[in-house]
Symmetry: C2
Subunit: 405 residues, 2 copies
Amino acid sequence: MALIVQKYGGTSVGDLNRIRKVAERIIKVYTAGNDVVVVLSAMAGVTDRLIQLAHQITKDPNRRELDVLLATGEQTTVSLLCIMLESMGYPAISLLGYQAEILTNRAFGRARIVEIHADRIKELLSQKKIVAVAGFQGRDQQGNITTLGRGGSDTSAVALAATLRADICEIYTDVEGVFTTDPNLCKNARKLPKISYDEMLEMASLGAKVLQIRAVEFAKKFNVPVHVRSSFKEEEGTMVVEEEKDMERVVVSGVTYSKDEARITLTRVPDQPGIASRIFTPIAEAGIVVDMIIQNTRKGGLTDLTFTVPKSDYQRAMAIQKEAAKTIGAEQVLGDEHIAKVSVIGVGMRSHSGVAAKMFTALARENINIIMISTSEIKISCVIEEKYTELAVRVLHNVFGLDSL
Amino acid sequence: MALIVQKYGGTSVGDLNRIRKVAERIIKVYTAGNDVVVVLSAMAGVTDRLIQLAHQITKDPNRRELDVLLATGEQTTVSLLCIMLESMGYPAISLLGYQAEILTNRAFGRARIVEIHADRIKELLSQKKIVAVAGFQGRDQQGNITTLGRGGSDTSAVALAATLRADICEIYTDVEGVFTTDPNLCKNARKLPKISYDEMLEMASLGAKVLQIRAVEFAKKFNVPVHVRSSFKEEEGTMVVEEEKDMERVVVSGVTYSKDEARITLTRVPDQPGIASRIFTPIAEAGIVVDMIIQNTRKGGLTDLTFTVPKSDYQRAMAIQKEAAKTIGAEQVLGDEHIAKVSVIGVGMRSHSGVAAKMFTALARENINIIMISTSEIKISCVIEEKYTELAVRVLHNVFGLDSL
């Protein structure tokens, strides 16, 4: 007998038939004697439709009220699931974010969970109820409804699993698990049976859309074993767990890519203390997140400075930099939206040398020019021209032995 | 400067354009210096669609969970209205039933308001916010979402007006006010400028669908002036107020009808103590509400007993009575679904005699047979054959001088 937290994504609860399948899965686990807490997303497409509705009123809807609106999505699915379970003869009860006492800060639309008071859930479990919690939502100290941002239901599930000290947190989704790379792009992609939190964090940050980053952070922090698996198939998915000894034997676990960034370069910037601050402060003040930064020293006290920003913020960032360039005396502001970032990730890098060299050589062999490089302990990222993305991913997947894992 | 509670029904908030119109109406009142609390229904048709969705799962959805599902309807409209008001530059905040602390008992689907803690609303009003409260919903002591039943938003509005000691409660709807009878049925129907709580109560009970009965009861109990008016027109509607001296000058204020009942007759029932109890106890235990009851004594210690039940409970009630007839030794159980109840209502009846005689004579003149009669201090109801409904309403409207009010 275990305590299992299951999370079902939007496509898994996309209509009543699918909700019935979800109910059947839950019943199987429940009748085997387990305690079950279920976290649900809104039906696929519903959140987007609600946002569109609000945008028909104004481009910039009041954030508190938008959260009230969006919260109806998960409210609908949890109540329908409980009606379904009850109609099949199983005791179920829904809890909305505030009823589950998922307390967050007040950052509407991108709130962070501060703590969860799980007394009510524990009591309901002791009464042998199946507890269905609305994902993606919480409440702040004043009792306002908050939402956790895109993919927030993953975080709700992992946070609940952590608070309840669940034996496992199962994330049911429309993919079969975590793959060595995007299967749509590389036919040799393979499902990983196991991956460490740190690798998963890098994968999530670098473009793999299986799990929300904050959910992985939570899982790592509280050591929650997470099982990412398909809600449409029976077979096992990928376990996201604490790093294990044998994991380092594999040098590279995955290859990811992202086309979501754009590059900005300031040329011939006077190389003086305080310059970088004057370039990046206005960007930060505009709420734009900078990813990679590279500075090349040129002769004559001048330097070129390149950085990347999300594509959606590119126009704004360019405008800001054109202003900044004038005041700091940079020559030019160049921009490029047609870039991609490909990355190789693996905890094995810590103990294996030559990974970077191998990556650069493989790309060079295909005549793919590397524009920027960024590394961490367990990943190497290269910015390349966007048109080479698919080629680069396939080449790296092969050269690091992932084709035949 | 006044405190005004406004309630808008489902057709008034049926789409974004109409919500914009509602916002404009609110702004007019707000910018004139008034405090405004707005109570909203779900968009027209939404509640029915949600019920249908639940019924696709099961005929008898879990009531607690159905309330969670239904509550999304008003949550959607209040958030959209606040997004609208904020986008137009006015400070607005939505409160759901539990946030407005509308406390109810635990009768899911037909909960009754126990009390309202209005401190938060008062504080928000003192900050000059427009407060939009989700109608139809509340919470019980355990924090479960409850709903108040069909038309419950009227009750939410009046109860809030009572708690806040509002100067007026405006009920915006798709009709222009309270009419002397149904204008769809009688072209001479006229809008009443004023009506007493008691008359409104009888009208609502007897088939006029302008206001929920419980809302009127609340208004009467706490003496809340209610203004029923159209959300599509500027002109004044009908004031529902405490009885005033001059009201008794009009003998009959309105004529109503209802086709929602069916009649059941037990013939040749032994006329003994306890018989009525044995007939009506099983009906009550089945949760069926009996309206009119008539007993005619026959000779030989036998009696005929006739009563009416809601048409929707007719089949169940017939089955129950066929069982009961056997045990008490009644001869036959006869039923009739093709009946209607026409009623004349007016506080003036208290001081005018001959109203009943005038009603019976008018019906007799048209050869309309009266099947049952029921009276109260301020109303007379007759059950007639359903096919005569329209004729009866028109004749009574004319004979009591309402055509030319």
